[in-house]
Amino acid sequence: MSAADTANDVPLPARKKRFNRNEVLAALIFVLPFVVVYAVLFIYPTLQMIWLSFHKAPLIGPGEFIGLDNYFKLFKDRLFGVAFWNTVYFVVLTVVPATLTALLIAIGVNRLKGWMQSLILACFFIPYILPVSVVFRVWGWMFDSQFGILQPLIALVAGDNVPVFRTLPLFMPTVAFITVWWTIGFNILLFIAGLRNISPEIYEAAALDGTSKWRQFTRITWPLIWPVTVLVLTIQLIAQFKIFDQVYLFGNGGRSDATMGLVQLIYRSAFQKNNGGYGATVAVVLFLIIVVFSVLQFQMLRARGEK
């Protein structure tokens, strides 16, 4: 049946149709810009990247098809192992601490009232608006092994000045600490939004029943804030798997092979050594790791929350 026939028919069957042609058209027009942008800026480059990973190719320009050789090379590459474990280590050092600390601070800030609350919240949020270069300069100066303002404190504990960014065991924990300091403001904001969504009536009812503060937290606050916690954890996990800027800046000139993460390995392969094919291979593997981890984490945590 052609479109013209439908139009000539009695209107009743047309109305019964699940989709109205005009509605579909309108919907298409509305989603089209997004779909086009998404396809051009995400889907197409992603497919290109996967295709590139099967080539021995420079960063830009054609290369030679070599099948899965890049992947075999990757699993034999010592640096890939180092970069993978460094990334995992960084994720462990940041994701849960950043989430829990943010929750604690949010609960604290939430108990404050009026301008005091705004002031304290602003204090915690301000680092988040700093660009990474400023964060690098500020902390680089504070930890400077000769003139750093923190060195007298460090010398009290360690007995002497310590070049923290040139001491391998201290490198990742310090950068992780700085990252938590830098990015925690946003997590706090999300938690505060979540906490404000919990109706005060529930707490009133609990108080009438004589519930202790701890029980109020474990039985009311925690379950109700859980969806936000899952969201924060997932955002953190994805962000920290992609760690690059801070580690690159603080490690620059130093033992970069021992401190690099996966994104830095991509950067080094593709941009520094002009080996686009291999860089793409690392990128594909990182992409898969993030997809698997975030889907797994989100599903697991959500399931627990819905219990």
């Binding site: 420079p58 960063l59 830009i60 320009g61 680089g140 400077d144 092994s145 000769q146 003139f147 070049p163 960014f165 040139r166 001491t167 391998l168 620059n252 000139g253 130093g254 033992r255 970069s256 092979d257 021992a258 080094r268 941009f271 520094q272 050594k273 002009n274």
Partner: protein, 425 residues
């Protein structure tokens, strides 16, 4: 409406050629962010003033090292980027192999009034790959020994001519450092010990003083007894750090501040920090200072050196036009002929007529250390070497920790050799 459009088109059409005829705009990228960058800006302003209405340089300064070269390479590959840029000759093989540079033909060089005979032969050749010219040298720069005259005098290390004495030889130098430390200096010499690049420059000088080859003609890294020489070179600096005569794991700005603040009696750094000292002194914020070529620790004088040069990027699909290239060549020639001003930035002009001029020969402190132009050892010519290359990365990974006592020099050099050899394709 139609006539309006016509008018608009017409006026644009009229406007474009008139601008082009009047003035050629040359987009310029450099990585000169330090004291030398100030001198370069003055040179560019002078050029623009002298060539007003004909050629105008529009300059942008980018971050030195990996960020600069990454940006140059990616922008050239997609047809973007500048018309002319500064480039390290040590990096040239890597730049040419990745297709980021455009060849400069002999005709273009001649048309600009330049000639290979105006440059030191090794310098001119370093700007070539497979006999083709890819850059025009601008300067030779190296590392030098800065010293605090008051502290050296107090330690009896200053001769009657005002120059340091008794610093040659590994043991003599170390004894001098100890003397300076005993005389109240916190460190005998301050070095930028937190990064591979600065350590590489000292290391490569000490290796050159023993005639050691980092990369031999067969493409092998630290082959044969070169490894022992490399270990020796590393040990020299590691010993200073171990005995507290030089600061451990110190960042670049702090290493300069240790010297300018009077905590270290001497400082090893590039000639590019000469302007920093000159400016501080002019403001009355610095003691009497001097600079000499690096002492001879081993068999004969030798100092690591590199060369800033000018290159034209190979902008794929958007090549620099012929007229623009002619303007660029004029810029390059002008800069070379006026490079005496660039010597204020501490560098040694690559252009021989300037280097041999009376004015340069009396310019201090350049004249004192200009001997290093004759004893220069340039980075190995390889796609793995040069600024922001795998060799620099390896220096950070192995040499730097060896200097700071984290890895033993022997094992550090073996690891460095194996790592780099593994990257040869």
């Amino acid at each position: 409406m139609k006539s309006f459009l016509k008018m608009a088109l017409l006026s644009t059409a009229l406007l474009v050629p008139s601008v082009a005829q009047a003035q050629e705009v040359v987009t310029w990228w450099d990585f000169l962010g330090g004291g030398d960058g100030v001198r370069m800006k003055a040179l560019i302003e002078k050029f623009n003033a002298e060539n007003a209405g004909k050629i105008e340089i529009q300059a942008t300064t980018l971050e030195w090292g990996t960020p600069f070269y990454t940006k140059v390479q990616t922008s050239a590959a997609i047809g973007e980027g500048p018309d002319v840029m500064t480039y390290h000759l040590s990096r040239l093989p890597l730049g040419v192999s990745s297709g980021a540079l455009s060849e400069i033909t002999p005709d273009e060089i001649a048309a600009a009034g330049l000639s290979g005979s105006d440059y030191a032969e090794s310098n001119w050749k370093a700007a070539q790959v497979d006999g083709k010219q890819y850059a025009i040298p601008f300067d030779i720069h190296s590392i030098i020994l800065y010293y605090n005259k008051d502290m050296l005098k107090a330690a009896g290390l200053l001769g009657d001519d005002g120059l340091p004495k008794g610093l040659d030889g590994v043991d003599n130098f170390k004894a001098a450092l100890q003397k300076l430390k005993d005389g109240g200096a916190e460190y005998g010499v301050s070095i930028h010990s937190a990064a591979g690049d600065s350590q590489w420059r000292i290391f490569y000088s000490l290796l050159g003083q023993q005639d050691g080859q980092f990369l031999d003609a067969d493409g092998n890294f630290l082959s044969g007894d070169n490894l022992d020489k490399a270990v020796k070179a590393t040990t020299v600096v590691a010993d200073w750090v171990k005995d507290g005569l030089a600061p451990a794991a110190t960042e670049y700005p702090a290493s300069i501040a240790l010297f300018t603040g009077g905590k270290a009696a001497m400082h090893i750094n590039g000639v590019w920090e000469v302007p920093t000292m000159t400016d501080l002194k002019a403001k009355g914020e610095l003691f009497d200072w001097g600079a000499i070529a690096l002492p001879t620790f081993f068999d004969h004088p030798a100092t690591w050196a590199d060369s800033h040069a000018f290159a034209i990027p190979n902008r794929v699909g958007n090549e620099v036009s012929a007229e623009k290239r002619a303007a660029v060549m004029q810029v390059i020639a002008w800069m070379n002929k006026n490079s005496l001003a660039w010597a204020d930035a501490g560098h040694i002009p690559a252009y021989a007529p300037v280097r041999n001029s009376e004015e340069f020969k009396t310019k201090q402190p350049n004249a004192t250390y200009s001997i290093l132009a004759d004893t220069a050892v340039f980075d190995p010519s390889s796609v793995l070497a040069g600024v922001a290359s795998p060799v620099y990365d390896a220096a950070g990974n192995y040499l730097m920790p060896a200097v700071n006592g984290e890895i033993d020099p022997q094992s550090a050099m073996e690891q460095m050799r194996d790592d780099l050899q593994g990257q040869v394709e």
